[in-house]
Amino acid sequence: MKFFRVVFVGIVACICGCGGSGSDPSPADNSKDRQEMLIHWADNIIIPSYDNFKVKFDIMLSESEEFTSSPSNESLTAFRTAWVEAYAEWQKVELFEFGPADRYTLRNFFNIYPADVAGIETNILDPLANLEVPNSYPRQGFPALDYLINGVASDDAGIIEYYTTGDDAPERIAYVSKLVGRMNTLITNVITEWKGSYKDTFTSSTGLDIGSSTGIVVNAYVLNYERYIRSGKIGIPGGIVAGVSGTAYPDKVEAYFKKDISKLLAKNAEDATASFFNGVNVTTEAEGPSFKSYLDALGAKDSSTGTLLSEIINDQFSVVDSKLNLLSSNFYEEILNNNQAMEDTYTEMQKAVRLLKVDMTSAMSVTITYTDNDGD
C-alpha cells in the first residue's frame, strides 16, 4: 500500500517536473493545507474585517457630511466620535496590505503620520493638489483628519471658527470632504476587488514562492508588525532605535492631536496581529487554519525545550500585551513622563518581530522580500 503510493507520487512529480513550467513540487507539499488557510483568511477574516471597517467608515463619512454642511459643536463631536471609531477599526485591516490594498497602497493614503500640517494648509489653498504623490501621504487619511478636527485650534469653539469664519473656511470644508471622499473611493475599490476576482486569485495561488499568496501575506504581516506597530507606534515617537532610546519625538505619536487614543489604536493593532496569527474567525471568534495551525502541522518547535513555536509566539504576544496595558492611554504623555515604559514595550515587540521574521519564516520556508538584500 505504502509502496504504491510512493511510486504514484514519484510519477506525478516526474510529470510535473518534466512538463510544467512552474516551480518544483516539493517533497512535502502542503499546498492543500495552505489553500484551506487562504480560504479561511479571505472568507472569515479579511473580507469580514473590511466589512466591519466599512461600517464604521460609512458612519464617519455621513458624520463628516453633517459636519461639512453645518459645522457646529454637535456635528463636530459626532464626527470626532465616528473618526475615533473608524480609526480604531482601521487598525484591524491595516495589516492586510497585500493584494488589492497593496495595489492601491491603501496604508499610504490612510495612515501615514505625523500629519504634515504645513502641507495640509498648502493643499487646502490648492484645489488641484496632487493627492497621489508620496509627499501627499501625510496630508490625508486619518492623521490629516486628526489635525483637521482636533488640531486646528486649541478648543472646539476655535475649531468651529476655523470652518465657519475666515476667508479660507470654504476651502477648509472642501478639503475635509475631499479627504473623506478619497478614502471612501480607495476602500471601496479594495473591498470590491476582494469580493470580485481577487479572492479566487488569492486562494488559488497556493505555492510558497515569492509572489504566492502565503508568501505575500507573511511578508505583509511581518512588515506591518515590524515597521508600523513596533517602529511606527512605539519606536519612532519614543526615539528607540535598536532597543536604545535616543531623542524622543512625542509629536510623532499616532493621533497626536487627539492624544488620548494612541494606546487604543496600538492595542487594536496588536490584538489584530495576534488574532490573525491564530486564525480567529472575525464573526464566530473560533480559531481556524492559520499560521499557528500551519506551524504546528510542520512540527515547528524549539529544539532544546520542545515547546511549539506557535506557543512561544503566542506567549510573546501576551507579554507585549501586558506591557501595552501598563502604558497611559496617551503615548504623548507616556513618552514625556515615562519613556522607559515605551522602551520596555519596544523590547518585547522586538522579540516578537524576531520570532515572526526569523523563526516563523524559516519554519514555513517563506522568503522575506521586503528588505533590500543587495547591499547597495
Binding site: D24, T105, E132, S365, T367, I368, D372, D374, D376
Partner: protein, 388 residues
Amino acid sequence: MNYLPTAKALVILSVVGLASCNEDEVSHLRPNIDYSLATAETPYSQLFVDANGTTTVDLAEGNSRHKMFQALNYYSTSNVSANTHIDAAKLKNLFTNTGNPFTDISTSTISVVGADLNTADVQLRDVVASSLSSSDAEVVRERMEDLFDQIDAASNSVTTTASQGIAGKLGTYLVDAKGIEIAQIIQKSLIGALELDYIGNVLLDKGLTADNHSVVGDHNYTQLEHNWDEAYGLLTLNPIYLAGSTDDTRGTVEFGAGSYIWEYNKANYAKIHPAFLKGRVAIVNNDNAEYQAQALFIRTEFEKALAAAALGYLDKWKSGTTDASRAHAIGEGLGFIYSLRFAKVHGGDATFSDSILTGLIDSPNGFWDLTVTKVNTASDAIKAKFGL
C-alpha cells in the same frame, strides 16, 4: 509484408549510422564526457581538459570584463560615499579601458588588480549591446556615456540635500534634480546591456554557431568552447556559481547579474550552474541540441530574474517609507526596466522598455511626480510580458 518495411528501416538506420559516424570522425576533437559527471558541486573547469591533460577552459576575458564592471561601479559608489566628485572622463576611460584607468581595489567583495585589467586587452564598451546592429549598439553605448556626464554633473551637488528640482543626496544616495539615482541607472543598465546582452544574446545565442572542430590559434579551446567559457566568466568569478546558497543566504560573493539571479529567481538560481556545466559537456560531446537547450534555459531564467527584479523594486518604491528609500528603489527599478530591452527570449525590445520608462518618469519632476498609478501600470506591463 513485414519484410519490406523492416528492410527499409534497416537501410535508414544504417544511413543515419554512417552519417553520424562520418560526422564523428571529422568533429570529435575530444572524447565524450559522461553527463552524470556534471553535478551541482562540480567546479566549472574541472571536467574539461585536452588530450595532454591541459585545461581547455580560459575564463580570463569574461572575468576581466566582470571586474571592469565592478571597478566602474565602484568608482561611482565610492565617490558618492566619500562625498567626492565623479569625473565623467574617468568613467569613459574605465568603459573603454583607455589610458590605464584601472587601479587596485580591495574590499570585502571586490578584489581588482589594476594592472591586470589595464593589460587585459579587453574593454566593456565594444561588447555592450553587441547583439544589436552597429548603429543601434552605438545608441546604447552613447547613452551610457551620457549617463557618465549626468552623474558627473549630479556629483557637484554631493554635499547638498536633494529635493524636488534640486540635485544632491537623499540619505546616502546621490540623485539628480529629477530625483534619479544615476549610479543605479548605470549599474542596472549594464546588467542588461553588458551582461544579459553579451552572455544571452551573443555568446549563448549567435556564439553557438562558432566552430567546434579545431582549436583557436595556439589555444587549447575551440571557439565554441571559448564562447561558452566567456559567458560563465562574465557572470561569475567563482568556480561554482552560487555554491552553498540557500533561498535566504547567498553562499558566494556575486556581483551584478550574478547576484540578482539569486535574489529574484529563487525557483531556478540553483539550476544555472548545472546548466552551464551540462552545456559545456554537450559542447565537448558535440551534442548540439543539448547545449542549445541549456543556453535557452540560462537565458530564459536570466531574463526572468531581471524582470522580477524590476517588479521587486517597483514594489519597494510602493512600500518605501522615506524619499531616500523610494528614490533608491526606483533608481534600481528604472535601470532594470531599461535592461529588459535585451530580454530577447521574452520578446523584449527598446520600444517595450522605453514606453514603460516614459510612463514612469517622463514628467517635469521625474521621481517626485511618481504615483502608485504610474507604478502599477509599469508593473502590469512587465508582468504581462514575462508571465510573472
